[in-house]
Symmetry: C2
Subunit: 197 residues, 2 copies
């Protein structure tokens, strides 16, 4: 005996990542209980965001300005390019404050199964950007998954024609990680890539 | 280097129950990637819901009509009253289809610590409704938590003056439950409340 409007609201909320039917019901109730403080501001912000936020034609990041604030910044190091799978990865790297170059967001990984090819991931666009802007180094910051690593190898092959130096993130024991809890793959990689103290 | 609009959107999304900073970022990106199919419809539905959905003055359920569809239905059994903590509990009981009476939503449990008293939970209103409508039985369907049971005892005391029969949900082994995995409290209650086969 849930009203139609509430049911529609729950169905739409359930389509957010990480939301199930039960958490969507909880979210809908929470919204209805705090309409002035949350539901209406969120609705307005979503309408506004849909209006003003667009994909950067350069790096495929999202921003209110075109090209995005990172691509437009003259303070960044044009010699460094960082390739990431998704915008959330770009945010994670920006948060560390330890990368000052430009980005290129692929928007996913190659997947024969899902029919995702190099064109869908703007890989030809990446090659063209590297040829135009001539960075010294391209860092592949892709996930350490099979799909991520397959895509990294494919991109390294594509970039070979440009002669640019291609690197990838170091693999090993995460900071704060406990040896006893690490998976075999990480431990074996950390051993193989050991460094002099 | 996240744009202000995206940051605002993430902050608002993070205030939904069950959302953390990371899942809010994921949700924001998902919304921005599917604006026509999800972000704008959700924004519209939220604006509309804030406009049309109101609390029922009778049972404190939420609906687009006042009194709500359950309170307005003549097909329901006026002899039975079911008291629940929250609207989500009402929805859960409605889904079972095994209760056909009227509801009363408290909106929480008594809590001296949080300063939630009987007035905040519309308990005086419940007593008045029971006196006016004269049901045969009031079922207390409150959570089997300390707060829920404290509130149930308080309500039972308040309803004593009306002379109505007050019952509560049976406690015991949940259907599909495995004895070996049950907590001591549930098992002890199930033993004490054993029934002839």
């Amino acid at each position: 005996m849930i009203g139609t409007e509430i049911e529609h609201l729950i169905k739409l909320l359930a389509r957010l990542p990480g939301m199930g039917p039960r958490s969507a019901r909880r979210a809908a109730l929470h919204l209805l209980k705090s309409r002035e403080s949350l539901m209406l501001p969120l609705a307005q912000m979503m309408t506004r965001a849909a209006d003003v936020i667009e994909e950067c034609p350069e790096c495929h990041n999202m921003d209110t300005v075109q090209p995005c604030a990172i691509c437009a910044s003259p303070a960044r190091d044009a010699a460094l390019f960082c390739v990431v799978e998704d915008i959330s990865d770009l945010w994670a790297i920006e948060k560390t404050g330890s990368f000052k170059g430009y980005y290129h967001v692929l928007g996913g990984t190659l997947s024969a199964l899902d029919g995702i090819g190099p064109e869908d991931l703007s890989i030809p666009h990446l090659v063209a950007r590297v040829q135009n802007m001539g960075p010294r180094e391209v860092i592949l910051a892709l996930n350490a998954t099979i799909d991520g690593q397959t895509t990294a190898h494919y991109i390294a092959d594509c970039l070979a024609v440009t002669g640019v130096k291609v690197t990838q993130l170091a693999h090993g024991v995460p900071i704060g990680g406990q040896i006893d809890y690490l998976d075999d793959g990480t431990l074996a990689t950390a051993l193989k890539s050991r460094k002099a103290v």
